[in-house]
């Protein structure tokens, strides 16, 4: 079942120099799929993510999430849509500093006026699953980066959204914390059938995914599917990345006969 459908999406930033951040990009994401989007800096990854998360507007094209085109919703409906259908994970966590870990976790439920005992129930479950039980009453500035990112993932999962959008979730983390975070995400995709789109620079992070989509200069470049062994998938990702590194023309003359 297709959850996300991106169809000929284009985003142009008007300014002194008109900049085409995303250009006629099309792809689909299936339910429960864990998709990584990779590309060099400035290739339009984050812009794409912002477009899907509905906080940036499209220039042309169409995005469907669960069959709904969120860009046709009014602001209020859009907020409700984000609140119920989406979860977000950011590179710099974006936890609210004056709330405790527990309060940060329940924030999406608070916004939706859930009853308190329901919130408490869900917090316990999710904290147990993410290993946050002992940290519930700490403030974000008292915990490590990995713990903060796990809290942010908990916040993204607690309302059981249809899709999770992650922007470089491991960008600020050490390798151990990165692994934890990626395993949690991968687990969420497999067990809960949550669709995850993750933007990343890191080939190791990408190797946890089911599929990696490469974009360059806002356009589709390549895509590869994962296989049984993460190690070989990682190798294949590196291969594509080495192609991405140079310009496309260079690659074709050296690699193609």
């Amino acid at each position: 079942m297709t959850v996300v459908e991106i169809d000929e999406v284009t985003k142009v930033y008007e300014g002194k120099v008109t900049h085409r951040a995303v250009n006629q990009l099309s792809f689909t994401v299936e339910k429960g799929e864990f998709l990584a989007v990779m590309g060099p800096s400035g290739s339009g990854k984050t812009t794409l993510l912002n477009l899907i998360s509905t906080i940036d507007s499209l220039t042309s094209g169409e995005i469907l999430i669960d069959g709904v085109n969120p860009h046709l919703l009014d602001k209020n409906e859009l907020a409700l849509f984000r609140r119920r259908e989406m979860g977000f994970v950011f590179q710099d966590f974006n936890l609210l500093q004056m709330l405790t870990v527990e309060e940060n976790l329940v924030l999406p439920l608070t916004l939706d006026y859930f009853p308190v005992d329901e919130m408490a129930k869900r917090v316990l479950v999710i904290a147990e699953r993410l290993g946050l039980t002992l940290l519930l009453h700490k403030k974000p500035n008292e915990i490590s980066g990995g713990e903060a990112q796990r809290t942010a993932i908990g916040r993204a999962l607690i309302h059981q959204p249809a899709i999770i959008l992650a922007d470089e979730p491991t960008g600020n983390l050490d390798s151990k914390s990165s692994r934890d975070v990626l395993e949690i995400l991968s687990h969420a995709a497999k067990e809960d059938e949550t669709t995850i789109i993750m933007v990343t620079h890191d080939p190791i992070a990408a190797s946890y995914c089911d599929r990696v989509l490469f974009i360059k200069d806002g356009e589709f470049f390549n895509e590869i599917y994962g296989d049984e062994r993460r190690q070989t998938f990682y190798q294949r990702i590196l291969n594509v990345l080495s192609l991405l590194g140079g310009s496309v023309n260079d690659v074709s003359t050296t690699r193609l006969p």
């Binding site: 998360s53 906080i55 907020a79 984000r82 609140r83 974006n94 500093q97 709330l99 006026y113």
Partner: protein, 645 residues
């Protein structure tokens, strides 16, 4: 966590940011409440001074209300902008605009409720203290504390309405509506200000022109100046902070010898960046401080008005009896017996004043005889005058006129009685207060005085003369209770402008003096309280700017320490950063006020000869000391937070 708890956490866990803002609000509520306590005091009779007190307090309340509204308005907009990243996250997570409004509304209600209640409680706790000051100033026997619902109701209704207004309005402060912009954060834009050279120069020109105008003000131009200078200075100040300063810093930076020296590199670069954020805040702090200085300074200068009161009112009591006054003997009898019973020693000199028309000017003149005048002069410990027949002497009605008349000589004649006079001298003291005698009053020799036997044109024989009873009283300020009935009659007649059936005039300079002194002291008291609220608010703007930037500063200082900056150098940088923030607006405000007072001096000169320099020095000095203390307090906290692990 419910939605309301979210708002609650936002306020209470951000209390460090809110501290100064909260303090200023609480203080404002407190002063407002104290004023209300005065206004509703059940023991306040409607006598003049207490009426003045009530009016003064009411004006103070209105000023406080409007100022607090403005203060909250500005603070809230700054607060909310500083929190835009947080709002961005919330909206990203799916908070609707309506929910955001609700959140801000709840937060404002919490802050409002807490500060109103705290302010009221503190106000009530300190009421007794303020009542003691009020009692001293108004010279009341007692001004007891009382409990009544009215002051509470007024304060709570006033501030509740105020906070509700702000809650509704402040929602509109979140300018950018796009989540993506909010997420970037407000403080992220830290480019250097692009200052326009033109505007930079205009700022200096405006200020200079305003100052030149203020210095060169004269009696004739003062009324234009009042309308030209304040807007000019305000606009000039704005340009100065927004453009001139960064222009000057730019000039400094261009000289690498100056710029790349030790800690200067960091502090100058910091200053340039912070200036952009702070320019408007500096401007507002400057204007608010200037207004506070001017208020208190002006009121303090009233106080000096009482300074030369004694010189222009050497008499203790004055009673003037006109033709046909049947109560003359009775009144004098009552006054002397009252003085005796109050155990006040006095000299009573009775002067018969004759009225004639002067040939030289064509005006009425009041004529005194030399012997009667000298009797009074001796009683007052002034030197007696010497006159021969045909000679006259001016008696000045004010210190000003004494100077003006000094070298004036006039040859004239008294038309009705045909007495020629040559006036060659002026008595060096003011003896009779202004309004008690004609402004043209002369003393003549006894022989000439006897020769005046015709009444003023249009009067029957003898009916133009009047008797002036001058009391010289040693303890002249103790005459509060003397002749109260006469005083009341005089006020009543003056109020209704109906002098029918009143053939006398009574004045009690001692009581007037006490009244002036009390009322000015009262106004000053109110003014100082209001100014204190102003200054505290100005301080809270600075505090707020510091604390919203604290996280960022902390990172930066940590980096600098890691790079090998010593604690001493850090202290230096902190000083360089804080001192301008605290004292730059302050210095500009002092300059503004100083020039404003130079102009005011000219205005005062016109009404009453006063020198306000001394009072001004005390007022500005006092505020400066308070500001320095505030600076050290904040610096101490700031450095502690910076060095915290």
């Amino acid at each position: 966590m419910t939605f309301r708890q979210l708002a609650y956490h936002n306020v209470f866990r951000n209390r460090r940011n809110y501290a100064a803002f909260f303090l200023a609000s609480v203080f404002s509520v407190m002063v407002f409440f104290v004023c209300s306590m005065f206004i509703f005091h059940p023991l306040f009779e409607k006598d003049a001074l207490q009426l003045l007190a009530i009016r003064g307090m009411m004006i103070a309340e209105v000023v406080l209300y409007i100022f607090t509204l403005f203060f909250l308005f500005y603070s809230m907009s700054a607060f909310l902008q500083a929190r835009s990243k947080e709002f961005g996250v919330l909206m990203h997570l799916g908070m609707t605009k309506k929910q955001l409004n609700k959140l801000i509304f709840f937060e404002m209600l919490i802050i409002g409720a807490v500060s109103t209640v705290t302010g009221t409680v503190f106000g009530f706790a300190f009421s007794k203290f303020f009542f003691m000051i009020g009692r001293e100033i108004m010279e009341l026997d007692t001004l007891p504390l009382y409990v009544s619902w009215e002051p509470f109701l007024l304060t709570i209704v006033a501030f509740a309405s105020l906070f509700v207004i702000i809650s509704f309005v402040s929602v509109g402060f979140i300018r950018t509506k796009r989540v993506i912009d909010l997420l970037q954060g407000f403080w992220k834009v830290e480019e250097e200000t692009k200052s326009s050279t033109m505007l930079a120069i205009m700022g200096i020109v405006f200020l200079t022109v305003a100052y030149i105008f203020a210095v060169n003000v004269s009696d004739e131009t003062v009324y234009y100046i009042i309308f030209i200078v304040p807007p000019l200075a305000t606009f000039g100040t704005y340009l100065f902070f927004t453009h001139t300063l960064s222009f000057l810093l730019g000039l400094c930076k261009r000289k690498k010898k100056v710029y790349w020296k030790k800690t200067r590199l960091v502090s100058l670069a910091e200053a340039t960046v912070k200036l952009k954020d702070s320019a408007q805040m500096f401007f507002i702090v400057t204007i608010v401080s200037t207004v506070a200085f001017l208020t208190v300074g002006t009121l303090a200068s009233f106080m000096s008005y009482t300074g030369d009161f004694r010189e222009t009112n050497p008499l203790g009591l004055i009673y003037i009896s006109f033709d046909g006054n049947e109560q003359e003997a009775e009144h004098i009898e009552r006054l002397t017996s009252q003085l005796t019973s109050e155990q006040l020693s006095y000299d009573l000199v009775e002067l018969t004043v004759k009225r004639q028309t002067s040939e030289a000017s064509g005006n009425d003149v009041d004529i005194l005889s030399l012997s009667e005048f000298n009797r009074l002069a001796t009683a007052l410990d002034f030197e007696p005058a010497q006159l021969v027949q045909g000679e006259g002497m001016f008696v000045p009605f004010s210190l000003d006129s004494a100077k003006e008349l000094e070298n004036v000589s006039v040859d004239t004649a008294l038309i009705e009685s045909d007495v020629p006079l040559s006036i060659r001298s002026t008595y060096p003291h003011v003896v009779f207060p202004i309004h008690t005698l004609n402004i043209n009053t002369i003393v003549v020799s006894d022989a000439d005085y006897e020769a005046i036997n015709q009444p003023l044109v249009g009067y029957e024989s003898g009916s133009s003369n009047f008797t002036y009873y001058a009391f010289d009283i040693l303890n002249w300020t103790e005459t509060m209770n003397i002749g109260n009935r006469l005083t009341d009659t005089m006020y009543e007649a003056a109020d209704t402008a109906d002098f029918n059936g009143i053939d006398y005039f009574f004045e009690n300079p001692g009581a007037d003096y006490r009244w002036f002194k009390s009322s000015f002291a009262l106004l000053l008291f109110i003014g100082v309280m209001v100014a204190a609220v102003f200054l505290l608010a100005a301080g809270s703007f600075i505090y707020f700017k510091l604390y919203t930037g604290l996280e960022r500063d902390r990172k930066q200082y940590k980096l600098l320490t890691r790079m090998g900056m010593t604690d001493k150098e850090l202290g230096k940088i902190v000083n360089r950063q804080l001192i301008p923030q605290f004292f730059l607006p302050w210095v500009i405000a002092l300059l503004h006020s100083a020039f404003a007072f130079i102009s005011l001096q000219v205005v005062w000169d016109e009404f009453a000869e006063l020198s306000i320099l001394g009072e001004m020095a005390i007022v500005l000095g006092g505020f400066t000391i308070a500001q320095i203390l505030y600076f050290f307090l904040i610096r101490w906290r700031y450095v502690a937070h910076l060095q915290a692990p």
